[in-house]
Symmetry: C2
Subunit: 142 residues, 2 copies
DNA sequence: GTGTTTGCAAAGAATTTGCAACGAA
DNA sequence: TTCGTTGCAAATTCTTTGCAAACAC
């Protein structure tokens, strides 16, 4: 559930608060699974059977603009969204297909030279391989 | 043009060499633009007006399997391909929309702890912002 | 000759759009 | 009341598939 203060804050950001939007926000809140639009649709439809993909995409677009959600720069056929807008990195597991948050700190040293000649708005690091959940199930690291 | 040695090498990798494949390979060779399937299709169609998207996608898939091309882990609606399979990083410019190779070396320190519990097959770093070509055109870094 | 690849057209998957009815403020 | 949002269906965009004919080896 969202506190009235949180809702008021969103309103002040210029977001109209509809029940559908709240349901989407509540599904995203603390969600670590980097859901696709379809994941969100399927979940929210339980409570709002009439909700449409259009609304899901609209809402996600609105939330993105307000900086409440970010869209991941990850390949594949589906867009993925992350309610965690703090800088952090991701691990894409080739075995289970999940995208996981990396908790460990990873130092990325951007050369001063590159910093000077660009504006860097986002740093997106993706490690691809076999994740910590799947590796134990497989035989060996060999 | 591809040297007979190079072609022979590809054949030994198990790739059947067709004129269409050669044309795609020649377009990719040294290409720094990270083209989409459509970019490739449009270019190759000049020489092979009858080529189809199916062939382009087929070929890219075959080249990927052989490690001659890699598909980028970058969001957006289209797949993008890179003939440079050496480790390197990318810059996605919000102004011009291009994806550029970063020449500068960027040190990424993966904690030993993370290395130990995973298998990392690929490290994909994407910087998002205003690139070195566009920045001078805009007013200031402010 | 054998088995792959090509090219077409159609299917599929994901996202976006147009628009009338609805609802938040 | 006003203007943005919803939900439906249709449209778009990108990628994949099925299959007969063509081709590489």
């Amino acid at each position: 559930m969202f506190s009235p203060e949180k809702i008021e804050k969103m309103r002040r950001m210029g977001l109209k608060i509809t029940p559908q939007r709240l349901a989407i926000l509540e599904y995203l809140e603390g969600n670590l699974s980097h859901p696709t639009a379809e994941d969100i649709y399927r979940h929210v439809r339980k409570r709002f059977p009439s909700i449409s993909f259009a609304t899901v995409y609209n809402t996600l677009e609105a939330l993105k603009e307000k900086g409440l959600v970010r869209e991941l720069y990850i390949g594949g056929t589906k867009k993925r969204f992350d309610p965690n807008t703090q800088p952090h990195h991701h691990f894409f597991c080739l075995s289970c297909g999940n995208i996981l948050d990396i908790r460990e700190e990873i130092r990325i040293k951007i050369p001063q030279k590159l910093r000077e000649k660009t504006i860097i708005k986002e740093i997106s690091l993706l490690l691809v391989g076999i994740c910590w959940n799947c590796l134990p199930k497989n035989l060996t690291k060999s």
